[in-house]
């Protein structure tokens, strides 16, 4: 296990002192990197924060082990995220940037790429969920988080049958959007 695994643990434990340390130690280099690649300071901090969230999710995957320095790993995640953002917004041609951003250093990067792809797919699903109407979001989220659906229906002022029907309909809408995203 790499010594820098401690930073992963800070994120996993939501350790506020540790997270402050991560900001103090690593945010500047990432912000500078983004600024050197057509981004603003705010873009840099956004990418930094979203990448830490991605790492948090990756860290919860089974067998996740840091095999390099946290700094290198963080840079890889941030670069990939920024590249996706550039592609999405078509802010600059990415062909040349892609070479410098995504070159593979060793075999472990391959495994990380797969993990990042998984996290990216999850992010897309969650952002599409946020585009549904509020009642659909509420139904899907509550049904996933609470056990007793009869009670959910009661608290929403609807019948249990209506809740199930509506949830089916909302999930079908979400799946249609996911399909249309072309990434699944």
């Amino acid at each position: 296990m790499h010594l820098d695994q401690i930073y992963i643990q800070y994120l996993k434990d939501n350790n506020s002192t540790g997270i402050q340390l991560i900001y103090n130690k690593f945010s500047k280099q990432i912000v500078t990197l983004i600024q050197q690649n057509n981004g603003s300071e705010d873009d840099g901090y956004d990418i930094f924060q979203e990448s830490l969230v991605d790492i948090y999710h990756m860290a919860h995957q089974k067998d996740f082990q840091l095999t390099t320095s946290f700094s290198s790993f963080l840079k890889l995640v941030c670069k990939r995220k920024w590249l996706n953002a550039l592609k999405k917004n078509q802010r600059m041609p990415v062909t040349n940037l892609e070479q410098s951003v995504l070159y593979v250093e060793d075999e472990s990067n391959k495994a990380w790429d797969e993990m990042l792809e998984t996290v990216n797919r999850e992010n897309i699903v969650m952002s599409l969920l946020d585009t549904l109407g509020e009642s659909c979001q509420q139904i899907i989220k509550r049904c996933m988080q609470e056990k007793h659906q009869e009670k959910i229906a009661e608290s929403m002022g609807i019948t249990y049958a209506y809740l199930r029907k509506k949830k089916s309909e909302c999930m079908a809408t979400l799946v249609r959007k996911v399909k249309e995203s072309g990434l699944f």
Binding site: G133, Q138, Q145, A161
Partner: protein, 237 residues
């Protein structure tokens, strides 16, 4: 195929049994597209389940504090949130622009379809289904008679009250629609935003344009309802 598509969520949650389960699984084996759809919905279901239980929001809170501390150590609260306000304002302008230019065809005054309750493994509520049928064929008074019976039996079910209120709108009885929609719009059920929208429609029809505008502004801008509300708002402004 269509009735089976309705059962995908029940299948994922392990609610299908016996013949129904067998029919579903046979169809999955025979129809590749259907199987892929089930697999995709299962993946989506699992992702949401995982993410909602990941405590991500707690982490985000810590990240926000750490970033604020690092970037703005001595600034006032206003100075801290100013960039966020600017970005949010720009995002709102872009969103509203998008909604205005690309969603021009929504029927603003059309009533929603009344949702049937028929689902697997449940005895259907015949009275309710009859109300659904009558409402959807625009026989509003007849539908309302049944809904009022249901309201008497189960006054806590807002769903009955909501559709009963809409029957008045269907009859262009805006005064009564306003009276019936008002408590739902001010309540906490899942119909509160829809009720606000149709209350705003009633108010507009009654000439209370300003009240309608105020109400429309309180509707969250996500989803189809958010788009409709914004479009009506644009029209009234």
């Amino acid at each position: 195929m269509e009735h089976l598509a309705d059962k995908i969520q029940d299948y994922i949650e392990g609610q299908l049994q016996g013949e129904e389960l067998q029919e579903f699984e046979t169809h999955m084996e025979q129809d590749t597209d259907f199987r892929n759809l089930v697999l995709l919905q299962t993946e989506v279901h699992d992702i949401i389940n995982k993410r909602l239980n990941s405590n991500e929001s707690d982490l985000r809170e810590s990240l926000f504090h750490a970033e604020t501390e690092y970037r703005y150590p001595k600034q006032t609260l206003f100075q801290r949130i100013k960039p966020i306000v600017t970005i949010a304002s720009a995002a709102c302008v872009l969103l509203f622009g998008y909604l205005f230019f690309f969603n021009n065809n929504t029927a603003l005054y059309e009533l929603p379809t009344m949702q049937s309750e028929i689902v697997r493994g449940q005895e259907s509520n015949d009275q309710y289904e009859e109300a659904v049928r009558l409402y959807n064929q625009k026989s509003y008074a007849d539908s309302r008679t049944i809904l009022n019976n249901l309201i008497n039996k189960e006054p806590e079910v807002i769903q009955y009250q909501y559709y009963a209120a809409l029957t008045y709108l269907g009859e262009e009885n805006y005064n009564e629609a306003k009276v019936k929609l008002n408590p739902i719009a001010n309540g906490e059920s899942i119909f509160k935003d829809e009720a606000k929208y149709y209350l705003a429609v009633s108010l507009e029809k009654l000439g209370s344009k300003e009240e309608a505008v105020v109400l429309l502004k309180t509707i969250p801008n996500q989803g189809e309802l958010g788009r409709k509300a914004q479009k009506l708002l644009d029209k009234l402004n």
